[in-house]
Amino acid sequence: MEGFISAAQAAWDALPYILGGLWWTAGLILGAMAVGLVFGVPLAVAHVYGGAFSRRFVAGYVWLFRGVPILVQLYLFYFGIMAYLSEIPALAFLPLSSGFFSAVVVLGLTSAAYQSQIFRGAIRSLPAGQLRAARALGMSDATAIRAVILPQALRLSIPAWSNEYSILLKDSALAFTIGVLEVMSRTRSVAATTHQPLPLSLLAGALFFFLTWAGIKVLKRLEAKVRIPGYAHQGTL
């Protein structure tokens, strides 16, 4: 009983500090989702509509970022590439020495590889007639992709995108290795000083679970909001 009380006490005492990590964790996920979206869409378009060279480039990109463990990438970027880039004066406006920045870049570029494949599948699933009709009206391919293809493909991508969200959420915990004060790193440091790893890990797990639940809820709402009336396709989560 005494053990339980002291464990609960340790978790309670650490709660405000660990809750503070939620902001960093949420920032990592949102930043990485955004970077992944911004790079993932053009990668997908290049993969589907590009020539042999761009297809190969995208395939190489996806292969690289899916193949190298995130932990290795974090070290590579934080201790290697970013340190090197920080010596270029023109890039001084970027927070290159920040662990958070490195983590967002790494998680974002990795997510771009995965997201590009989500979008690619969605684009491919659209009937070929959509592009034909757009072309027949005199739209350039670029206009057709912007006005006709992507608005439909992105809607179809939301269910798979929720999946990507929960994967990123878990991967974001790795950012503790380069000193980002997110939930996991705060949990570890408190656990080390209080010698109460079990309750603190449970607390961290609960927080991650909460973030997953909240994020999926938001995405589900988004999916319902942009759903095309009467359209049979409805995502399942």
Binding site: Q130, A133, R135, A136, V148
Partner: protein, 259 residues
Amino acid sequence: MDDTVILRVENIVKTIGGQRILDDVSLSVKKGRLKVLIGPSGAGKSTLLSCINFLSPPDSGTISLDGRPVNGKSRKELLALRQQVGMIFQDFNLFDHLTAMENVRVALIKVKGLDKRAATNRAMEELARVGLADKPSLYPAQLSGGQKQRVSVARALAMDPKVLLLDEPTSALDPELIGEVLTVIRDLADEGMTMVMATHQISFSASLADEFLFMEKGRIVERGTPAVLLARDSGSRTQSFCAKLNELAGDAAVCEIAS
């Protein structure tokens, strides 16, 4: 009647996967006339239509609009050609994420550069023209096949095309919905729209077309006025094809053969 040739198609050859789909096809369409392409499936009717607006570029041959040959290698000329040549597809191809009105409006904004308001007004006019003034905010999935096809006609008309290409516009429709689309096409013909239409609706188009082109194996094997080709004693391919369609259709004769 105006005798200006609007669209001239000369010696089109198209090979897909080693198979010759179009073999030296030529035709010309005068202003305000309707040419009808008839023939069995696989004859090359659809391919011919999509060669005209370069959705599937011909291997050789010339397409001229208003007397000017189109350079298919120039992106600019291609986009300009497609703006002036409307196309109606068998399976409608409405943009699924846009309402009926937005389907008609989108190219006015994105291609013609109209502002939103002007484009909306124009779109509403065109919807009214095809009898859908009361359905602007419905999505394709909420429309019947006949309504979808009428929206797609409105979408093409909004671009002020010089020629309209219709690729079996009623073939994907339930029988009871064919009539509303044919009515729209008849109105267009009466208003003097220049059209090339592939169809199996032979008796319908016989009253409107100035020429029937019978296609088989990538060639135009017969051409002439509907009255001549459909005459009972003409011995034409068109006539026997028509008789065969009637046989398949049973009581609902798709074409009447002039006696």
